[in-house]
């Protein structure tokens, strides 16, 4: 691994060249993918028209770009970054490449509350009343995500937190939540469950600035905090006794990082629904690209954003003019990858 020390006055860092390259390269690629994605829609535009619409206030395309296409593309990128960052943290703490926010009960918990909300408010033909109209789907999803994580955390806690125990409890709770979700879908009105189904497969359709802002704020606060925690996260990969011997307050460090991961995943899920596999795959791809020992946080987030942007581009073009929910594409891409991971772990 190529690293070089960066020392200025009393300050010092270790710079990983590959990490910097992946992050910067990812940023360029992401910009390109977003520009391509924003060409597509009722009015097809050239890349030049997209750029004109973005930066020229007087352009005829300004409204379409700024109010419809850009927020949608941004939601995808930010949600992907947040999910991937969450996954990178959880995989480091669980010391397991198969761990993701799903096993922390975040995504499955959010699915249960959203489906429950949609079914309970129960008005056909898209009308909204009751619980759903007062809270809205994002708030319901946020509550469900945080609640689900709290349940998993409480059940997994036994005089401290053990990564392996957390994974097992998480898988169990996720199974229960998933079945509750299916049961709710069977008792709901067919029109309501149809709407719920689009949400629970993870979709970017019709996402606006109100979906961008919460994820952007969460990232703005949590990215610096998690970067500060990188060194603790690195130490947490060792056995518990070694962690303490190195002077890390293990349980608070672990709890804080898990809290950050849960918030990131919950806010992302509230904005776009549970987009599958991004949190699982992005950290592992970033790990291989940077050839580092643990999922690198910034690079993972960047890979997550690119992955979601690619999936959304595919979702919108493959069966054009029909647009698939982005979560369907990530699931189709992610399933073989998951099998590959399990296959490798067996050997």
């Amino acid at each position: 691994m190529t690293t070089f020390p960066l020392r200025v006055a009393g300050l010092s860092w270790q710079v990983r060249l590959r990490g910097v390259a992946v992050t910067l390269g990812g940023l360029v690629l992401l910009g390109l993918l977003m520009a391509l994605n924003m060409r597509i829609g009722d009015i097809r535009m050239s890349v030049a028209e997209v750029l004109g619409g973005t930066f020229d206030v007087n352009s005829a395309n300004h409204f379409v770009i700024m109010e419809l296409r850009l927020p949608r593309a941004l939601t995808g990128a930010l949600v992907g970054a947040a999910l991937a960052l969450s996954g990178a943290i959880i995989q480091s703490i669980a010391r397991n490449p198969l761990a993701s926010p799903e096993i922390l009960g975040v995504t499955t918990g959010a699915s249960v509350t959203v489906v429950a909300g949609v079914v309970a408010s129960g008005s056909a033909y898209g009308g909204v009343s009751g619980l759903l109209s007062t809270l809205g789907i994002p708030a319901l999803a946020l509550l469900g995500g945080l609640g689900g994580a709290a349940i998993v955390y409480a059940l997994a806690w036994r005089r401290g937190l053990d990564g392996y125990r957390l994974v097992l409890v998480g898988i169990g709770v996720a199974a229960v939540f998933t079945n509750v979700k299916y049961w709710l879908l069977t008792i709901g009105d067919v029109n309501d469950t149809g709407r719920a189904m689009v949400w629970i497969s993870g979709s970017l359709n019709g996402r606006g600035w109100e979906h961008v802002v919460p994820v952007a704020l969460a990232l703005a606060v949590l990215v610096p905090l998690t970067l500060l925690g990188t060194r603790s996260l690195d130490a947490l990969r060792f056995g518990d006794d070694t962690v303490t011997a190195l002077g890390v307050r293990m349980n608070p460090a672990r709890a804080l990082m898990i809290l950050a991961a849960v918030l990131l995943a919950a806010v992302a899920t509230a904005s776009a629904g549970p987009i599958a596999f991004v949190a699982l795959a992005a950290p592992q791809i970033a790990l291989r690209l940077t050839r580092s020992g643990q999922p690198p946080l910034l690079s993972s987030a960047m890979v997550g954003a690119v992955l979601t942007a690619v999936a959304d581009l595919i979702a919108r073009t493959v069966f054009s003019p029909i647009e698939l929910p982005v979560g369907v594409v990530t699931a189709v891409l992610g399933a073989p990858y998951l099998i590959h991971l399990i296959w490798k772990a067996r050997k």
């Binding site: 300050l11 060792f238 006794d241 002077g247 890390v248 307050r249």
Partner: protein, 260 residues
């Protein structure tokens, strides 16, 4: 007194292993704890290294309660090598040893020239400089153990607790590790506490032996005084003859058992 256990009660959950134990570790000594399996010697060492919180009593580091000192500050004074430590996959020796610098680093000072020097010195002292870039999983048992000790050394503490540093090693590697311990003690005047299974090596490499049974200290002091035939019966329930080690003159335990 560098490190002191005062009337400590130790255990896991409802199971009490050590009750009402007192032990003091003086500066500049090599203390070795011996005793049969399950006597509580590793439990005691973990408590001395604040890896296990006592259920009663207290552990004092330089006279202050160890649980009242921030764990990071403790890590600058006291290094602990746990029993059978685990490292993440694919880690290189240099990476592992660099982790020892953790308590000295902050987010804005992550790899100072002091860190670099300490890691280089620790690698040189354990004779691992040539293997620095090798993954840990590719090393032999003795080399790996030396890498872990190297990490504890990079931490730059003058107090070192080693929990069975010679387990799983063949005799040559056991001697190699203990020679390193002696070197650290004599050349760098470090205070060392370790748990060992091999009584003869313990007698040879320790200034002070602590013999434990059923969570109690049965005898403590100079190896010549502690390692007696009566103690072997009392602590290990073993009939043995004690003779002088023909090389070092320290006590040598010869079990009687049956023989040809």
């Amino acid at each position: 007194m560098r490190l002191q256990a005062v009337d400590v009660k130790l255990g896991y959950g409802d199971r009490t292993i050590v009750d009402g134990l007192d032990l003091g570790i003086e500066a500049g000594t090599v203390t070795t704890i011996i005793g049969p399996n399950g006597c509580g010697k590793s439990t005691l060492l973990r408590a001395l290294g604040r890896l296990l919180r006592p259920q009663g009593g207290e552990v004092l580091l330089d006279g202050k309660r160890i649980d009242r000192i921030p764990t990071r500050e403790v890590a600058k004074i006291l290094g602990v090598l746990p029993q059978a430590p685990t490292a993440p996959e694919g880690l290189t020796v240099a990476d592992l040893v660099a982790r020892g610098r953790h308590p000295h680093q902050t987010w804005y000072r992550q790899w100072s020239s002091d860190d670099e020097a300490a890691v280089g010195e620790a690698l040189a002292m354990t004779g691992l400089a040539d293997l620095a870039e090798r993954p840990l999983d590719e090393l032999s048992g003795g080399q790996r153990q030396r890498a872990w000790i190297s990490m504890a050394l990079a931490q730059g503490t003058d107090l070192l607790l080693l929990d069975e540093p010679t387990t799983f090693l063949d005799l040559a590697h056991q001697v190699e590790v203990l020679e390193l311990v002696r070197h650290l003690h004599r050349e760098a005047s470090r205070t060392i506490v370790m748990v060992l299974h091999d009584l003869n090596l313990a007698a040879r490499y320790a200034d002070r032996l602590v013999a434990m049974r059923d969570g109690r200290v049965v005898a403590a002091g100079d190896p010549h005084e502690v390692l007696t035939e009566e103690l072997m019966r009392e602590v290990f329930e073993l009939d043995a003859k004690i003779i002088a080690d023909p090389v070092a003159g320290t006590p040598l335990v010869i079990p009687i058992g049956t023989h040809r």
